[in-house]
């Protein structure tokens, strides 16, 4: 048994026992919940890219922007027209009710919590978050690279849909 990963923000927490097997099982369950709630597409995106994207409802906003959701890191807002980075929203979901288990949700649960909060009440989540310029937690070059990976992933998805429709 190792110690660590119990505190908020991924910092080790004294007194919290880190059990890799337990954490792995929790992550498997968390991914199942992600699939059940956010859908197969979101599950595949997280599995293949390591992050999720949320875009506001088309009818709700004229603005073309979106959010990259990383596990236990900031939410990165981006301009969907040119891929420029707008801001970072630092937010976590620490659970203080069971110190033995630590405060940190499994990675997929953290991603799903952000997805739920953004799709359910974007304004409320952003109000609770601390806003920073890009680069606070997520390297801007990595975020730009992830946006390129996202575009390629979505282009491949569209190609596959067209092929299925034609078949």
């Amino acid at each position: 048994m190792l110690f660590g990963r119990g505190g908020g923000g991924g910092r080790p927490s004294r007194g919290t026992v880190y059990d890799p097997g337990r954490e792995r099982r929790a992550e498997v369950k968390a991914r199942d919940l992600l699939r059940a709630v956010a859908g197969e597409r979101a599950h595949a995106m997280y599995r293949e890219l390591g992050f999720l994207v949320v875009r506001p409802r088309p009818a709700a906003s004229e603005a073309a922007y979106g959010y990259l959701i990383y596990p236990h890191r900031s939410i990165v807002a981006f301009d969907d027209r040119d891929g420029s980075l707008i801001s970072e929203y630092c937010v976590g979901f620490p659970d203080h009710t069971d110190p033995e288990r630590g405060t940190r949700l499994p990675d997929a649960d953290d991603v799903l919590a952000k997805w739920i909060a953004l799709t359910g009440d974007e304004r409320r989540l952003l109000t609770d978050a601390n806003m920073h310029l890009p680069g606070r937690q997520v390297d801007p070059s990595q975020a730009r690279r992830d946006l390129r990976r996202l575009r390629a992933w979505e282009a491949r998805e569209r190609r596959e849909e067209r092929m299925e429709a034609a078949a």
């Binding site: 069971d98 949700l105 909060a117 601390n130």
Partner: protein
């Protein structure tokens, strides 16, 4: 209807399950719902928007949960980070 909660070291755990149309089971769901809110949890119901788009609806009281909802998900409230 199932009430589930995200938990560190667990993944999701089932808190309660019942038919809200059955009075006794509805009360158990309401009690479980309130306990989670008392612990500072947020609650959300998965939904389908226009075109089947997956979304979630945040709820603050059991009365806001659609009667036909299959699942209510609880998770710790958001806290601003560094």
């Amino acid at each position: 209807m199932k009430l589930v909660r995200m938990k560190p070291g667990h993944g999701d755990v089932l808190l309660a399950e019942g038919d809200p149309e059955v009075a006794e089971e509805e009360q158990e769901l309401i009690d479980a719902f309130r306990r989670q809110l008392d612990q500072g949890m947020w609650a959300a119901v998965p939904t389908r928007g226009n075109g089947g788009r997956r979304e979630a609806e945040m709820v603050r009281d059991f009365s806001e949960v659609p009667r036909d909802a299959e699942q209510v998900i609880f998770f710790p409230r958001a806290a601003g980070g560094q």
